[in-house]
Symmetry: C2
Subunit: 375 residues, 2 copies
DNA sequence: CTGAAAGCGCTTACAG
DNA sequence: CTGAAAGCGCTTACAG
């Protein structure tokens, strides 16, 4: 029944025998078929649980599988199977130099690599400051067909019910930006937003008196209370302050994305009323707004900590206006979000559910090397 | 001559035509062969510059190649060609929990991934504190056959002449740990050691008076002046101090790897003679030695900065004994060192020559997430 | 339920 | 110099 021992194939077969003594010859489907006395098609059915195999053969094949440590050749599998996969990436729209452009770079790299496994990436974009635009996008997604999704979780309240629909459709999804542990996600690729808040607090407070006051710069959202990410960071930030007997005040200031004059007025007011402010923080990537204001008023000594290494922040850090940046490897989030789904779809390889990324700290001294995070 | 237009193949061929209007059908070698009126073998010869092709056919095939943007299917190529590659990784021996164990983890991951491209990894180890052991290893390597090498450059003076031999043998090599720009390396995967020295200086000095004195902990090497990496870091460190009007003194202290009593004596002496010492640094991964000493003497307030997130350092950072660690992603160095060589050998894809990695800063607040650097 | 056969795109002897 | 043919390991209709 097991005739592999004295089975002499021509040519190639002999080589295998010889190799056998040196390197452990890898076992192929034909080898298993021969050992079990069946055809390769039947082995394939068992390996993929496609059913339609007699109990006797199933037992025989499984027995062989048990003792041989079969490792499928994925290269051959991909080449042979014409199966195409589509991954939907649901993310904010962006302009060059903005935070999400870095995320997109990671998605693009993953897209290039996944191509060879017959995986296609499709992007779906929404306005990150407008919950309604996200809702509208979800409506579109209901009519689209795809095999997996990468979801940016900015609008947590709208993401959660949508994932229930995906669950029902049997479509796996991966979160990026911030985690929503209550959902049935295949994985989360991003930092712990809460602890990233604590890191910012530590960096900001390092050089401040315990009684110094702080300002928190914010960009208002339309119809929503800000992104999940920013809320979590602020919680972590405040938590750190409480645990380190901070005794100052925090003043929120609402700024606008592209209205320098407006922002200057608001900040002038604030500093006039509270001259005691010695530190500032923003919980999204727009600390360059505060930095621009402070750069023009060098007399005002304010420590400033923000998030994300986008060009405008990078410059302000290099110039010494920003004290420190906390970063979250957006390009890795994009790359890994797509690739983890790709590995799952193509190879059935389940990624770690929570792949918390490192929380990076950038100072003037190490900022110039902050690149190359993707392997 | 170009008969692809009205060429109607059965089955599969029709599908391609239909796809054509939707997705740009990828062009295969058979397509090119047909367009040029030759066989696939001849196209293959041209694509790989194997010669033995008539001038007329060469011209015809090149003409086709020009206009069709041929992208070889690497999956198929790997499957078809039995070509095996061996990559030699030349690195220090290590015990669990030591710095090079992390490097090894990256090598192992790359090994697992490269397997599918018929690439094998072979390790060659030396004693990182003994130049002679490295020299002996190089002698072994002269008789070994391999297709590419990853070289840890600790003993720069011995690496340099060896790379000349590799150049002569036509074997590509990649540096890790620290760069030697004078060599003809395919790539360098690691941090800028000099600037990593500056980062340590910044972190150490942040909370010190300009007049405070510092101690520099060192482990003596047998027969050599220390690793290239450590020397460069120290240069960068001292350079930073000079540029920031540091006015204290630096005292070297020679410590031993596994002799706590000895180390305590030397440090007791030093602090007795120089009670003004308020900061300490090590340029290799052994700052846990100094940390252990200081942890047992909490009255002595000394800021301590070191390198590399190995377990013992990690604990001392979490406990607040170490102020900050500067890290260099050893696992990424191992992974990328192997994979860049793999990409070059298998796909002819040239990596960026100097892939300087980010210089990471770890504090008590972000240390717990410092993992997951490899994608 | 089962197996022979064709095919994925490329490479490799081999015969001419 | 050239091309027909076999093969890499796996998958997929298809006929039974």
């Amino acid at each position: 029944m097991y005739d592999s021992e004295n089975d002499s194939e021509p040519g190639r077969g002999m080589e295998r025998e010889n190799l056998g003594s040196e390197a452990p010859a890898t076992v192929r489907i034909v080898d298993i078929a021969r050992m079990a006395g069946v055809s390769t098609a039947t082995v394939d059915r068992v390996i993929h649980n496609r059913g339609k195999v007699s109990a006797a053969n199933l037992a025989r094949i499984n027995a062989v599988l048990q003792r041989v440590d079969y490792r499928p050749n994925l290269i051959a599998r991909t080449l042979a199977s014409g199966r195409q996969y589509v991954i939907a990436v649901v993310m904010p729209r962006f302009a060059a130099g903005e935070y999400w452009a870095d995320f997109e770079a990671g998605v693009a790299q993953a897209e290039a690599e996944a191509r060879r496994y017959n995986v296609t990436v499709r992007r779906y974009r929404f306005d990150q400051y407008d919950g309604a635009s996200f809702e509208a996008l979800l409506a579109t997604l209901r009519d689209e067909s795809f095999d997996g999704a990468v979801l940016a979780t900015l609008f947590a309240g709208r993401v959660i019910p949508f994932t229930a629909e995906l669950d029902a459709r049997g479509i796996p999804y991966v979160f990026v930006d911030s985690d929503l542990p209550a959902c049935n996600r295949l994985a989360y690729c991003g930092t712990s937003s809460f602890d990233a808040g604590a890191v910012a607090a530590r960096l900001l407070c390092e050089g401040l008196e315990p009684g110094a006051d702080l300002v928190v710069g914010k960009i208002l959202h339309r119809g929503d209370g800000g992104s999940n990410q920013c809320r979590e960071r602020e919680r972590g930030f405040r938590d750190y302050l409480e645990r380190h007997d901070f005794r100052g005040e925090l003043y929120d200031v609402a700024l606008r994305l592209d209205d320098e004059a407006y922002n200057a007025r608001r900040l002038d007011e604030l500093f006039a009323v509270h001259p005691s402010v010695a530190g500032a923080v923003t919980f999204n990537s727009t600390c360059y707004i505060l930095a621009g204001y402070l750069a023009a008023r060098p007399a005002r000594r304010v420590r400033l900590v923000g998030y994300d290494v986008i060009d405008r922040n990078r410059r302000m850090l290099a110039d010494g206006v920003v004290t420190a940046l906390v970063a979250q490897r957006p390009e890795v989030q994009g790359y890994r979000g797509v690739m983890s789904l790709c590995g799952w779809l193509v190879e059935g390889r389940r990624p770690g559910t929570v792949g918390n990324l490192p929380i990076d700290i950038l100072l003037k001294e190490n900022i110039s090397y902050y690149t190359n995070n993707i392997i």
